[in-house]
Symmetry: C2
Subunit: 336 residues, 2 copies
């Protein structure tokens, strides 16, 4: 009896699902245009059994850069904010840091001076705030910060600053049998803490810059892993295809990015046979989000550089550039 | 109409599936006993909604060592055979190796001398045969070798030498919502070539010792990855939990091994809360397979050392030792 009842429920679900799918646009936050068309055409071409470019479900891999592609990266990567926010707690545990640069500057709270910190300064802060603790403690700290911290412009949690149109692409691809991966220059351990809740992407489908860990035991003999200041994978630029090979072992069929850091990932994706989708998000909407980088005709910034050379390569190779201004009806979910 | 027909087919499949599952033993090659009971109890405890130790489906991760746990490792790891078999082709491409050790010994075909090669010798051979080519070329070579090579005792392809009882565990866990991973000291790129076909485990669920790759372009500007002689992950002993953290980012609920190389993976698994399953395969059946290692009372060999210390730790911590002799009705699928 139970079996029959289950089956009846299933019938209802299947019927409802089919009808809904027919009626709904999978990408409602996208304006009609070449970008939306490129996505829909790619999906149809690769999932319809009769298509000459059909891709078996196990090979359907799609990779997404995170910062500037799935969520806001301007004016500063949120992981950098995390590291800066951790400095006071760090100084409490290690008082000798209070008088040492660059920690002294961060503790001063002087925003102008903090904005001027150099890359080597930020690296010192990253090593100090991202290593030396157990992986469990790190996860707990990030979880707490993500739940509490908010950005300077919208006063929202960082996880609310994801792009609605890209959330729709993630869901649409998954509904079409694609495994969606984040492939980020950011920290793998950091992004994994919130990826499932924020993007529906489980930790094992997050590829990012990764530090080594060291296995050991606490005083009760319980094993744990300590985060070490040893870079295993610098998942940016050429490191992205290298990271994809290491962590996934298959070439993606679709890849999304927004900067020169994603160039090699898109090239590697495009070098496969059959249908491939390569897309770049261009930040050209200063009113609703931000406009920056040479390809917009504006000066470069500290985040996601989209150079003219990348723009030219995209045009030459038939990659699709997504204009946030013209292709996206809505950028952020809370936008009016 | 099509929807209704689909639903009717679904009803039939659901009903059939439920009936079949009720009638069938998921582990028919296992004798009744504590090992089989441990597996079945663990699965029930973690997948039944009402269980106090219920595990949500997304957290259901099970990890398996390969050599000696999923397939035969004695008298020599098959990847070592691959490397030795590649030496003639390598010497053809690089004639200067013909007179250089350890290549000279391998080319001599003298089995006794080859068996005496030291670990540094084998490492030299591994570096020479596993690096310097593109990842695509490497995959093609392994695929060819796997399809052609056979073992010395049964004269079967290596992929036929998998343990039938463990194949049943893999399928049973997957049918229970578990993601099954290989976590091997062997080469990640090597195992990924045949893992899907042999174990139903996709390449992205193979964690293994991994060499770095280098992104570059061929003369036509097409990008490719070259395998480099740079060890990124030594996925053995403490490297197993470290590799699991890097590649999966979650602690397994079940872990299977057969040697001291798996000790830390089992400890790490067992240190989690809720129900956890830790199992070790003991090679104690010289007639149907092999018997070796201190825990069997027999001398140690070059493969999968199962020491008395590991055996004692297993007993102390309540891990289950699987006796191939008494727990397995059938070891190899082709066994009469």
């Amino acid at each position: 009896m139970k079996t029959i009842r289950t089956a009846v429920v299933l019938v209802a679900l299947v019927a409802a699902g089919t009808l809904t799918a027919r009626a709904q646009d999978p990408l409602p936050s996208w304006n009609d245009g070449p970008a939306k068309k490129a996505i829909v055409d790619f999906v149809k071409l690769t999932i319809e059994k009769a298509s000459p470019k059909f891709v078996p479900v196990e090979a359907r891999i799609a990779t997404f850069d995170q910062d500037g592609t799935l969520w806001v990266e301007h004016p500063i990567y949120s992981q950098v904010m995390y590291c800066l926010d951790r400095v006071p707690a760090l100084a409490k545990a290690k008082p000798e840091l209070v008088s040492v640069e660059p920690f002294k500057t961060v503790l001063s709270g002087n925003r102008e001076a903090i904005a001027k910190l150099t890359m080597p300064d930020l690296e010192k802060i990253a090593v100090a705030t991202l290593t030396g603790m157990s992986t469990d403690d790190f996860q707990a700290e990030v979880k707490k910060w993500i739940a509490e911290a908010s950005d300077g412009r919208w006063k929202k949690h960082y996880t609310e600053l994801t792009y609605q149109p890209m959330q729709e692409v993630l869901k649409y691809l998954r509904a079409s049998g694609y495994k969606t991966y984040i492939v980020t220059g950011g920290g793998q351990d950091f992004v994994r803490v919130y990826s499932e809740e924020t993007y529906g992407i489980p930790p094992e489908q997050v590829v990012g810059s990764a530090l080594g860990t060291q296995y050991g035991y606490d005083k009760n003999g319980k094993p744990f892993l300590t985060k070490e200041p040893k870079l295993l994978l610098n998942d940016d630029r050429a490191g992205k295809p290298e990271g994809i090979h290491l962590m996934i072992g298959r070439r993606p069929y679709a890849a999304f990015g927004n900067s020169d850091g994603d160039r090699q990932m898109l090239e590697y994706t495009g070098a496969g046979d059959g249908a491939r989708l390569m897309m770049l998000v261009l930040h050209d909407d200063a009113r609703r989000e931000y406009a920056y980088g040479p390809a917009t005709g504006l000066p470069d910034t500290k985040v996601g550089t989209f150079t003219q050379a990348l723009y030219d390569e995209a045009k030459r190779k038939g990659w699709t550039v997504i204009s946030m201004k013209t292709d996206w009806k809505k950028i952020l979910a809370f936008e009016q």
